[in-house]
Every structure is written in C-alpha cells, then in structure tokens.
Amino acid sequence: MTGRLPVRKTYKLYVGGAFVRSESGRYDGSRGFNVPRGSRKDVRDAVKAARSASGPWAARTAYNRGQILYRCAEALESRAVDFAVDRPEIDASIDVLVHYAGWTDKLQPVMGGINPVAAPFLSFSLPEPTGVVGVVAPDSPALLGLVAELAPALAAGNTAVCLLSGDHPLPGLDLAEVLGIADVPGGVVNLLSGRRAELAPVLAAHHALNAIVDVSEDAALGAEIDRLASESVTRVRHSGPATSYDEAVRDPLSRLEAVTELKTAWHPVGA
C-alpha cells in the first residue's frame, strides 16, 4: 500500500475577491511552485476592481472596517501554520493588523478637528481615504513588509493593489487566501505576483491610482515611479520595509497621512 498522494496547491493572483490566473498565462518558479507572472492587463484589472470597490469600502463605518481588519488578524492567526515564514514574523504581522484595526475610528479625532475660524462659521477638517493605493512590496520581510503598508492603507478607508516581491511571492499569495475568508469585500485588496521591474511602472503610471507606496528600496525604480506618478499627480511615499512590529507601528500617522486627503467644510452659524 503506497503513501497517500497529496493534492498540490495552485497559486493564483487575488483580484476583485476572486483567485485568478494571469491573463498572460505566464509563470515563474518559486520554491517548487509555478507562480503566476502578472501582466500589465492584470494590473489594469486589479486597479479597476479596486476603484469599483473603493466607494462602498469608504462608505462603511470606521467601526465596520476596524472589525474586518481585526477579523483579518483572527484569520491570519488561525492560518499561521500554513505560511513558510518564521513564527515571529507572522506574530508581528498579526499584531500589526490588530494595531491598525484600532486606528480606523481614531484617525478622525487625531488627524482632523474643528477650525477656530475668525468668523461665525462652523469649520471642520476631516481626513478621508485617498481612494486606490498601490503598494510595491519589499523582498524582505516578505509578509510583514507587505502587511505593514497594507494595514494602514485599509485602516484609512482605501482599497489596495499590491505588487508582491518577485523573489518571495508566496507569503503574499497565502495572505490572499487568509483575506478571502475574513469578510474583506471583493476588490478591496488585490495581490499580484510578477516581476517588479515590469509591473511597478505600469501601476505608477495608471491614472486611476490615487497614491503609491514604494517599499522596493530600489532608487532607480523609485525615481521612475516619481516621474510616472507626476502624470496624474498621484501621491507617492517611499519607505524602507518594517522589519519588526515596533518598526511597523513606530510612526503610524506618517503611513496614514500618506494615504488620506483632508477635507475642510464650512457652515454658517447664526439665525
């Protein structure tokens, strides 16, 4: 009697809440698996899905978004054994999700406020999500580096399109399965594996993107992203990867500020 043959996993992209193959049909190898090699059309589809999902996601209450992020933490905790990642990195990633779950309904009092204008008006300034955020994830740490940028973007009410590390895409694709069970609405998070040099410029140049967070630590690519983003005044933040929980939460406001807009409104006060 021979041993039981295990059923092998097929890795897929995560776009619009569904697990799809690259429309190009191409693949790269990673740790013995065939991993989809995302194309410019996949990027296009992901941005479209993220744009479509951004209105409803932003319209949910902050409390609801916080609960969903917390559920992502619950899901990652329960699936931790599936990841080929060191346990401390997973624990840190879970805790980062918990930390940012608690920011959703705190950003407004911390970043917004009432403006004491010198005229009889009630004037207030409110942070709002910028819309669709692109993330160019780092090679290392593959999971924590991604979560440390994704969590604040979502906490602020944005949807996201993330380009995973070319060398270490599997933790990001495994994360997709975790998000798939965590009540995250389709299109709110999109995860694409592929070659960064090929896809990052496409993402940065996409006019429907509102902001891009570049954690590639590649200066030449970073400059190219800056240049392409300028075509549609896309907001850009460059950052080194968070390599620990403490680093990921050391300055949360900077991560949140990079992906929010401030709206100021005025209303007369008087008879």
């Binding site: 409390y63 917390y70 309904d105 705190k106 407004q108 939460v249 209303h267 007369p268 008879a271």
Partner: protein, 484 residues
Amino acid sequence: MTGTRTQVVWDYAPAPESPDHVRLRDSYGLFIGGEFRDPVDGERVPTINPATEESVAEIAFAGPQDVRAAVEAARAAQPRWAGLSGLERGKYLFRVARLIQERARELAVVESMDGGKPVRESRDVDVPLAAAHFFHYAGWADKLSYGVGGREVAPLGVAAQIVPWNFPLLMAAWKLAPALACGNTAVLKPAETTPLTALLLAEICQEAELPEGVVSIIPGDGSTGATLVRDPDIDKVAFTGSTSVGKDIQAALAGRGVSLTLELGGKSANVVFEDAALDQAVEGIVNGIFFNQGHVCCAGSRLLIQESVADVVVGKLWERMGRLRVGDPLDKNTDVGAINSREQLERIEELVDAGEGEGAQRRTVACELPDRGFWYAPTIFTEVAPAHRIAVEEIFGPVVSVLTFRTQAEAIDKANNSAYGLAAGIWTDKGAKAFEVASALQAGVVWQNTYNHFDPSAAFGGYKESGFGREGGPAGLRPYLRIA
C-alpha cells in the same frame, strides 16, 4: 361592491423573544480575583423581573469585607496589568468585545428580564453598543498619547466604578473599557436591581482569560457603593447615577485626592422650532422620552415647542403616543417596557400627582397594563409652568412636560434655566440656526434633528449638576490617566 365593508382589524400577534437558550445559574457569587466567591459578610438576595415580579436568579450583595477583598485583588493585579504592552491589553479587550458579540442574544434577553426594558432595545442598542465600546477602547490601549495631545501618560491605579440600573451592561462597558485600556484595574458595583448582565460580563472576562483581579464585579445596594468609595486604597471613582448620590460621593472624597468623574441626572430640553420637519420631530420626541421608559439620564423630558406650532405638535405627539405598545419586555413588538422597580414607580407616581396638583394638564395613554409587574403608561403634561416640579425635577419615567416659547433667544434661556445640563435636542430645518443654538446651550450633548444617539467615539457627559468628565472618544481616556 355594494353593502357595508366589514372593518378590518389587524392586531399584532405576540412575538416573544424566546428565553429558552439562556442559561442562567440558580445562584451567582461575587466575582473577585478572577473567580466567583461566596460573600463573606454580604447577603444573598433574589433579583427580580420587574415585568412579572418573579425571581430570575439569586445573587450576592457584597458586604464591607467583600468590598475590601475586591479592592485588594484589584491593587495586587494592577502593576502587572499596567506593565503589559498596550497592544497586549488591547487584545484582551478585543476578545471581550468579540465574546459580547457572540453571546449577544443571551445578553439582550437577560438584560430585559432583569431590568424591564424592551428586548428590541437591548438587542438593537444596549448590547451592540457595549461590544462596540470595548472594541473602540481596545484600539486606544496602544495609542494613548495620541488621545491626549502627545503627552506621556500613566494609569491612575485602582478604579472604583458604580453603575445604574437603566443601561446595566452598557454602563458597565462604558466604565470598564476605558479604565482597563489605560492600564487601571477596576472594581465595578452594578446596581441593586440589575446585576445579571454584569455577572455574565464577569463570565466573559473569564472566557477572555483576563488576568485575575483586573476586573471585580460586586453587586450591592447603596451601602455597598458607599463603602466602596470610602475604601482607603482606591485611586479613582467613576459614578453614574442620581445627582443626589453624586453629591454625596463628591463630599465623601473631600480632601482625599481621589480622581472623580460623575455622570448624573438631567432634565434635558428638546426644542422644536416652527421650521422643523414636524413628523420627524415627533418621532424624535417619542424616542427622546419614551425610549427605555424614560429611564434615561439624557431623556428629552422637557419639550419646548415654538408657540406657533405647539398645538399641531402636541396633537401629532398625542396621536403617536396612542400607538405605543406597553407590555411584555420580551415581546419584540413592545415599545415601552416595565418600570425598573416598585420604588421607581412610586417616585414617578408621586411626581405626576404633584404635577396635577400644581395645575398642569395631564393626559395618559389608555392601555391595558398587566396585573403583575411595575408599569406606567406614556403621559404628557401641557399647561406646564417653568417653575412646576414636573418641569424642574427629574421624573425618570415615560412622562413629558410641554412648555412653549416665542423666540430663539427665549428657547435658549428656558433650556439653560436648569441646574442640570446633560443633553438637549434641537429641531429645525435651518442648519445655521441649529449650530447657533447648539453653541448657546449649556448641555454636554446636543442632538440636532435627532435624539438619543450614542457612539463609543463620541464623548458624552454633562455640564453643571449633570456631572463632569466625559465617556467616549479620546476625551474618555483622560479621566483614567495621570499625565506623567
């Protein structure tokens, strides 16, 4: 079709929320040091269902030695609790929030059985808000400085917390969540007539594996509370209840340097201007005074109507009151439940009699009330003068007193003419007027074109004799922190 049509009558059938799935113990001890213990010098008493006057379960009141033991346990647990990272403390509170959500239905049914409020309210308001409060403050635990303008903070230590019978679980959440998030430990005394959901919350703390001693729950009567606030080893007192007891507590703490927050009574003005959307205003008035049988500190118990629309509004209000359903709190169609206790019923009756004696015009909805239990039908007083007792004193029942005004300035004056200052409502379609009146009112919470809305992120608390300190939002952290 010829001939007379037979009159259709469509009555709602009973729609009881089943208590079958609720598993209550026959007897609950005191929750101290992470476990349920027999009282040392306190007594065991039944807690009754005010709709039936039957016992729901046996509970224990804490005696003086029990109170001491609880404070000791809280003190012992405090350094380690405060020594945890904010993230870790927050994760305990997130667990509590999730457990409340999981046990939501059970908590809602028990809240209605123990306190008398309609199950629709405990299901849709009390329990969800309690879970949300823990969830919100869980997220502050590792962000405290951001909530206080960047200052360095430290916990106060041991918090003694006394909560009332009108929103038992919700008030327990409002007290425990911020205290614990800030690194304090707590001794909570639920109200005499409504200990059960707090005791279930104690079970939830056990399920969440909250370290022993971080939370103690010790039911008791007024003397238990008095003993607790006089304990020599507490750092903080937080009290929600009547203004007269609040004043006693403030006096008892004189010279002790114990931090205090008070959330007391009110006689809140609900102001309807002639340019209000009147049908919506009527719904808001009903929600403001008949929600939870009027047992709400911020109830809109003084209805101030602009004279030009007073008759129309009173007419619509009276008609709407006639459709309120008074009865079994466990029936999902009930709008007005049972009065919490015989004592409270007597207080309401006394004040209503006084109102009639003073010359105000009373109308009470005619409805069949059950034989057993404590009930009061929705009541409206017109021809009320500002000096009448029913316009000045808090009735804490389903009784609204109507006064009129001519101008905006007069409305503001009348609304502010009270020793209380908890809440107010403003009904007008003109935004500029709504904001102008809001800034002129001496009330801690102002609702514009709505009433009785609460959120863990929105600070709540009073001006003047309605108390001081705030619960909710970053302002709700401050009372539980020491600036280091």
